[in-house]
């Protein structure tokens, strides 16, 4: 990565400047972000666009003695712009109201975790020529498949470096790489004149783990499985959630509901449920930021707090400490931050995000689960999300199939499901041993019994 700016010199300049405001300033933080990416894009199953880009910038978080937060950012890395950002952050800070719930930004610590394999040298040295190899396989498989008529896909690789410094003495620097491949494939049954689509993606820290063949074949299978569509009658039946279904229906809602900010504002359906059994014994969920090589892992979060493994739900019990915190929400509750401060880039203040959010796999094979179902539904994807304050979910099954006598049958058209999430959690009967990882989420297959399905067949 070409680096012609001396970030530490700029930081020193910024802190010297901030020191002048000691009378009103309680603490401040400088967050530098430097990133580069490469993206090869396929449309209509042809390479269409080659893209690269880079970005670097800094933000200043200035917090007043009354707890008021001022924030400023720029992508102009020079002393003059730093001066302007210091001035602006102080001006913003002075315009805010008192916040007695603010305690402090993080303190430095002696040692940070040493998570392995977050950075792949091969991503940094990757050329456009090398990247093409990752997409040619996608194009070939789509071309050779009789039913595939088109594909949008991409391969992307990026490197990023964050440097966080604050007036308490935190000074951390970390680099990471991410590469990903996605395939959205369109298939057509020419005889029946039916069209359908399937989508799959993979993201990894290391290039060597990227498997375009597996990604496109999975997308292709999903598209074909989704081709023959029927309307069904309303019924109560068991459903099998695929890992993607589990992520959208269970993991994402829980991740949002245990976000300490939403929780403290009492905006989520899990408020008042701590230390309670909220679901089947089979559910165990943790947020683990320390897994070597995982996409959601890091040594420290977006404020420089060490990452950790936080247990959220243990055998169906929502643990008292099962919330994800940044330093602000932790201070408000009088606990330690869980190292879940998250930022999209230097241009945002720290919010709260997951690291690797994992529903532990079970013992039974997923094929066994399906084989045992006489009449049921396989649910892979719904674009809906539950009402987070009530936990009510009602949504369209975008990708789902009938299961009949232990076999996966036709896909569902205009079929919806409705349930409250707490009821769903209780009705989980089986957890499969197979699991899949999508980005920062890891999920097995689940069987949930007695679910209301609303069909549109009269």
């Amino acid at each position: 990565m070409e680096n012609d700016v001396d970030i530490y010199q700029l930081a020193t300049h910024g802190f010297n400047n901030l020191n002048k405001f000691e009378s009103t300033l309680k603490c401040a933080e400088l967050f530098f972000g430097v990133s580069e990416y490469l993206n090869i894009e396929i449309e209509e199953n042809s390479i269409k666009n080659i893209e690269k880009g880079s970005d670097e910038g800094v933000s200043i978080r200035a917090i007043g003695r009354n707890g008021s937060l001022g924030f400023s950012f720029t992508n102009r890395l020079n002393n003059q712009s730093i001066d302007l950002m210091v001035e602006n952050s102080i001006k913003m800070m002075r315009s805010g109201t008192k916040d007695s719930e603010f305690i402090d930004i993080p303190q430095p610590i002696d040692s940070y975790p040493k998570v392995k394999d977050l950075y792949d040298e091969n991503v940094q040295s990757l050329t456009i020529d090398d990247s093409i190899d990752y997409v040619t396989e996608l194009i070939r498989i789509c071309d050779e498949d009789e039913m595939a008529i088109s594909q949008s896909a991409n391969f992307a690789a990026s490197t990023s470096k964050n440097i966080i410094l604050n007036t308490n003495g935190v000074k951390v620097e970390g680099e990471e790489t991410i590469c990903s491949v996605s395939s959205h494939i369109i298939v057509k049954d020419k005889l029946k004149d039916r069209t359908s689509n399937g989508f799959e993606y993979q993201s990894e820290r290391f290039l060597k783990n990227i498997n375009p063949t597996l990604v496109i074949n999975t997308a292709l299978n999903k598209a074909k499985q989704n081709l023959n569509r029927i309307k069904i009658k309303s019924m109560r039946s068991p459903i099998i959630l695929t890992p993607r279904g589990v992520i959208s229906l269970i993991l994402k809602p829980i991740a949002s509901a245990i976000n300490a900010e939403a929780f403290q504002y009492k905006r989520t359906f899990l408020v008042d449920k701590r230390n309670e059994k909220i679901g089947s014994d089979l559910i165990t969920i943790e947020d683990n930021g320390l897994i070597n090589g995982a996409v959601g892992s890091a040594n420290f979060d977006a404020e420089g707090v060490p990452c950790q493994n936080t247990k959220i739900i243990d055998n169906g019990v929502f643990l008292n400490q099962g919330l994800l915190h940044n330093s602000y929400t932790a201070g408000k509750e009088g606990v330690e931050s869980t190292g879940n401060a998250s930022r999209q880039s230097y241009s945002s203040t720290p919010s709260i995000g997951i690291s690797n959010f994992i529903l532990s796999p079970g013992k039974i094979g997923k094929n066994e689960l399906i084989e045992d179902i006489k009449e049921g539904i396989l649910l892979d994807y719904t674009g809906d999300r539950p009402n987070l304050s009530t936990g009510d979910f009602s949504g369209l099954i975008l990708h789902g199939n009938i299961i009949e006598n232990g076999e996966i049958g036709p896909a569902l058209n205009e079929t919806m499901i409705g349930i409250n999430l707490l009821e769903l959690f209780k009705k989980i009967e089986h957890v499969s041993s197979e699991y899949k990882t999508y980005g920062s989420y890891q999920a097995p297959y689940l069987q949930v019994n007695d679910i209301q399905i609303i069909g549109s067949h009269n």
């Binding site: 209509e44 504002y265 009510d392 369209l396 975008l398």
Partner: protein, 483 residues
């Protein structure tokens, strides 16, 4: 603006050098550069959460050679860096071209040379930060004091002043000065263990006057009303109903279920249900749909500013224009970028949009709406035996390949024998686009026509858009429920 001096590097000398370097090497190129600054003010429960000020410079280069594109986002703006990266981007297009299957030329067009400045009545630079903060505080106070049942309020104000420069192969040089504002209000109410939320936003292109209209001033009150009303709303019972959509939901239906399928990139990629349907009747005869993102439409809605989804040119230098998508039920045209128009051999119609200089243009909508007809709302309700009146929406999505769509409404009302009954929450309805366009049984008149604005996501980019229409009624729609 003092900070926009960075755009001064684009002298005639530099432009000549760029044209020289591109000559005989590249079929088309464009450069977008811009400087933006602005504020974000976020309050919750009448306390400031975050007050932000920013200053950003952005520049990207796009090149095209016989079907292959190169796109390069620069991290800084200097003459030397720009020229070096320009040459690299030409190489990227060349490489891309060597691998792509579809060969075509970009349609030539006239060079556009213009300086455009949006007509702001109160320029943002004349509005002190304290006035913006007072405005946010006022909204917070209205919401917090609306009822004892209001437990949490949140108000976010965002503004930006943007100076943009567009250059292209044909010799275009367009400078634009825009001011864009948005206000967002979210309120949570709680009673007997039930939590409900009301959320609304208003946005516009113009000066601070955007915040001084009745529409903006009543925003937090509207969110509070919604949250309180929803506390007593019931969960719906699933089934098949006649559903009346308010103008907001009609707009969402037109945007999500129909509009996306009209985006020519999806059509070319065989992802749209409307592929090869131009000239065919796809809806009942009363259905006419247009996309008109031109400036100058605020007045229609008694607003002293430009609509949030409006623009002067798209991000490829094509002027915004009115496009008729459906006329009397017959599909007339798709919406296009330079690329899709060139490939399908039609004129580009100004829909190659990007959300910033660091994103490449995609085919996107502007202000998409259904033309009104002749039903009164009261008449429509009185004519409905067993139905649901749905108002305001939470979110919606569509699978453009199959046309299967799904929307979630915020607040709904049961209709029995032509009369409104109890309130319902979280009603979701879905169907197949082409089926539903033929199941519309009533289209409201001018008086029921309105628009709403928001951010539409596609390919990782959020774009400001508007959509709208009159109230409409759709028969036999599948409604989801918990029971």
């Amino acid at each position: 603006m003092a900070e926009n001096d960075e755009l001064n590097i684009f002298t005639d000398d530099l432009l000549n050098q760029l044209h020289d370097k591109a000559k005989n090497k590249v079929d088309y190129w464009d450069i977008r550069a811009g400087v933006s600054n602005g504020n974000t003010i976020e309050f919750s429960d009448e306390k400031s959460k975050e007050i932000t000020s920013y200053l950003l410079t952005g520049c990207s280069i796009r090149t095209f050679i016989d079907g292959g594109w190169g796109f390069n986002v620069l991290k800084k703006l200097s003459k030397k860096h720009l020229l070096d990266e320009f040459v690299k981007t030409i190489k990227m297009a060349k490489f891309s071209s060597s691998l792509c299957k579809f060969k075509y030329p970009i349609k030539e067009r006239n060079a556009l040379t213009q300086n455009f400045k949006v007509n702001s009545k109160r320029n943002l630079e004349d509005v002190d930060l304290s006035e913006k903060i007072e405005m946010v505080k006022e909204h917070e106070s209205i919401a917090s004091n609306y009822s004892k049942l209001i437990k949490n309020t949140r108000t976010i104000y965002l503004d930006s002043q943007v100076d943009l420069l567009f250059l292209d192969t044909f010799g275009s040089k367009v400078k634009q000065e825009l001011e864009i504002l948005r206000l967002f209000s979210s309120v949570y109410a709680q009673n007997k263990g039930i939590i409900q939320n009301g959320t609304n936003s208003v946005g516009g292109v113009g000066g601070f006057e955007v915040m001084n209209t009745e529409k903006a001033l009543s925003l937090s009150k509207k969110s509070s009303e919604q949250a309180i009303n929803l506390l007593n709303a019931k969960s719906p019972i699933g089934g098949s109903f006649s559903v009346i959509l308010d103008s907001k939901l009609t707009g969402v239906f037109i945007h999500e279920a129909l509009g996306h399928a009209c985006e020519a990139d999806l059509v070319l990629n065989k992802e749209s249900i409307l592929t090869e349907k131009i000239g065919e009747k796809i809806a009942i005869e009363d259905v006419s749909v247009v996309d008109d993102p031109r400036f100058g439409q605020g007045e229609k809605f008694n607003l002293p500013y430009e609509l949030f989804g409006s623009y002067f040119i798209d991000e490829e230098g094509t002027p915004a224009q009115k496009t008729i998508i459906i006329k009397n039920g017959i599909l007339q045209s798709f919406i296009h970028s330079l690329e899709t128009a060139s490939r399908m051999n039609v004129a580009p119609n100004g829909h190659g949009r990007a959300n910033s200089n660091s994103s490449k243009p995609q085919v996107r909508m502007g202000f998409t709406y259904l033309e009104p007809k002749d039903w009164d709302l009261e008449e429509m309700i009185a004519d409905t035996k067993n139905g649901i009146l749905c108002e305001d929406f939470q979110y919606g999505y569509t699978d453009p390949t199959t046309g299967n769509f799904q929307f979630k409404c915020r607040i709904s009302t049961n209709i029995e024998n032509g009369e409104k009954k109890e309130n319902l929450r979280d009603v979701s309805f879905g169907g197949m686009t082409l089926d539903v366009l033929n199941k519309i049984s009533a289209i409201g008149n001018e008086n029921t026509f309105n628009y709403s604005d928001g951010i539409c996501g596609k390919g990782g980019q959020g774009i400001r858009v508007c959509d709208g229409g009159p109230y409409i009624r759709i028969d036999n729609l599948t409604v989801g429920g918990l029971n």
